[in-house]
Amino acid sequence: MTGSTASLRAYIITRTLLMVPMLLLLVTFTFFILRVAPGDPVSALYGEHGNPQLIDQVKRELGLYDPLYVQYFRYIRDIFTGNMGTSIVTSKPVIQEVSDRMPATLELTFSSMIVASVLGIGLGVFAGTRRDRPADFGTRVFATLAYNIPIFWFGLILKLIFAVWLGWLPVSGRFSPRLSPPPTVTGMYTIDSLLAADLRAFVDAVGHLILPSLTLGIVLAGFFVRITRVNVIQAMSSDFVEAARARGIPERNVFFRHALRNALVPVVTTMGLTFALLFSGAILTETVFSFEGMGRFVYLAISYRDYPAIQGAVVYYGILMVVISLAIDIVNAFVDPRIRY
């Protein structure tokens, strides 16, 4: 056991060190793609009929006329000194924009992941253990619809029913303007309000989070149901389950100790892939619920060719993706003893 722990530790260290060249490649790639692509932030901001002299002057101030390599090395130097530049559109430092919005997206994606895992794995096990019965059929219909529904449309329907017609939950935003938000620690309102022991703020923050995370979570659950169901069916008909039954182990234990554990390994593995799906869905969900997160920010930044904002966002997304995939690998090493690094 010590050997595998040591190799896992070596693997984690290698992966963490590899992060630096990977991120460097990513930012370099983004930098040059942006400069090669037609359009620039100043022209996009002032429109086609902007004053050409003014546009020219602003471009000069931003250093957009400098040779490409000068711009590039300035950019790399800035990254290493923690300076992400200033968003051209909002005139706020990119680092501040990101630290304001990243917690919102993390809060949304993690709560959606919880909804998706509980609902998706639960229903997948439910359907997989009742193969070809009406319960299985019903669950599959649900999964197919959930997987194929346009997420923004689904969010709008939930919003209309539960926020507008029934009035149970807030229509949009992250927090009620009439309450004062908790002091910023993590930037996530739910956690910060708990840390401040402010129950009213917590209830308010959770209330705002429910509809967006149900929207994103249910859509993703469709995906989880399918994988879980197939794997439960495969595990239940496998040799080791037969063997366990033959040894006279009660069916309950056969299922929980033998079948389920093996069925969930591939599910955990695919969870890593779904983060890409989550971030795509988050852009649309954030738009529908005016949930000011990274998705909205990146979308606006790209539309306005806001170079510093796009580059900054790419760095954070890159770090996030690398950390997530590392976390998934570590989790995999623990759930699946066959995996060796």
């Binding site: 194929n148 346009p150 923004f152 329907i157 890409a276 799906l277 869905g281 993706m321």
Partner: protein, 301 residues
């Protein structure tokens, strides 16, 4: 030359259609037929929209935000245009974009996958790395970025979506090819001195071809959603064109006052994606019971 032709020459397409027709009465076959009928229905509606639509889609034909009923089957939107007529015309854009995009990603992804899986070595590792990075990147974000760079237009948006789906073809084809390559008959063909392109054409491609219709329809369903997401965000299309996602982007802010202008276009997106998924899932069950195993292996690897 003829000694290489060991088996009878049935075309790949012919065999695929044959194995589908032989199972068209099974549950999976019926699911495929349902999917095909719905998609065909939507295609017919799109083609004959000028004859079927009661009103011009871009003209104010009634009161603003009139509820469904009377002459307006699905009500009118905030500009007083007939929602039903716009939905009929609106089928054209997603259908053409999805057709172009999925075909384009097939044309790029299939040869790359064949090449990578067959050649192996450094080229293979480099291509896998590139494709995996694209695959791991949020698809909609990638499409937004490409669409923002190359500008508005139906062809541009098709290209933006095609980029997202190249890796799905690549991954499945490449993994399939590298396992087929180990088969004795392929090794024998190579040992007999058959040129690579003929080995691929005669032995590798026919074995891999069965997974193409499945990926194609699953990708098509997914790209309908990506197209709708892009146009919902207001990207990609010039103003004035009827399109389901674009129409929702114009009316969702008024959802409380006139839910129908948002609800019906979305319902049609859901019908189209579900029908395409039916085709993909059904074909998957029929054409390659083995594919699920190999996909699972790919996930576990």
């Amino acid at each position: 030359m003829s000694r290489w032709v060991a088996r009878g020459r049935t075309s790949v397409v012919g065999r695929l259609i044959g194995s589908f027709l032989s199972q068209s009465r099974t549950a999976a076959g019926i699911v495929v037929w349902i999917g095909i009928s719905i998609v065909l229905g939507i295609i017919i509606v799109a083609i004959f929209a000028p004859f079927l639509a009661p009103f011009d889609p871009n003209t104010k034909v009634g009161a603003v935000e009139a509820p469904p009923g009377g002459p307006f089957l699905m009500g009118t939107d905030r500009s007083g245009q007939d929602v039903f007529s716009r939905i009929l015309y609106g089928a054209r854009i997603p259908l053409s974009i999805v057709a172009v995009a999925t075909t384009l990603s097939l044309i790029i992804g299939l040869p790359l996958g064949l090449l990578s899986g067959y050649a192996g070595g450094r080229l293979d590792r480099a291509l896998v790395l590139v494709m995996d990075s694209i695959y791991a990147f949020p698809g909609l974000l990638l499409a937004i970025a490409v669409a923002a760079i190359i500008g508005r237009g139906i062809l541009n948006i098709s290209f933006a979506i095609a980029v997202v789906y190249v890796p799905t073809y690549f991954r499945v084809i490449r993994n399939h090819v590298s396992s087929v390559k180990q088969e004795p008959y392929v090794e024998a063909a190579i040992a007999l001195g058959m040129p690579s392109w003929r080995v691929i054409g005669r032995y590798v491609l026919p074995n891999v071809a069965q997974s193409i219709p499945v990926i194609f329809s699953v990708n098509a369903a997914d790209s309908v959603l990506t197209e709708a997401g892009l146009t919902f965000l207001g990207l990609g299309l010039p103003p004035g064109i009827p399109d389901w996602g674009f129409d929702i982007s114009l009316s969702w802010q008024r959802f409380e006052a006139s839910w129908w202008a948002t609800f019906y276009p979305g319902l049609f997106i859901l019908i189209l994606t579900t029908a395409l998924t039916f085709i993909g899932e059904g074909l998957n069950d029929i054409l390659n019971p083995l594919l699920r195993k190999s996909q699972k292996a790919a996930v576990e690897a």
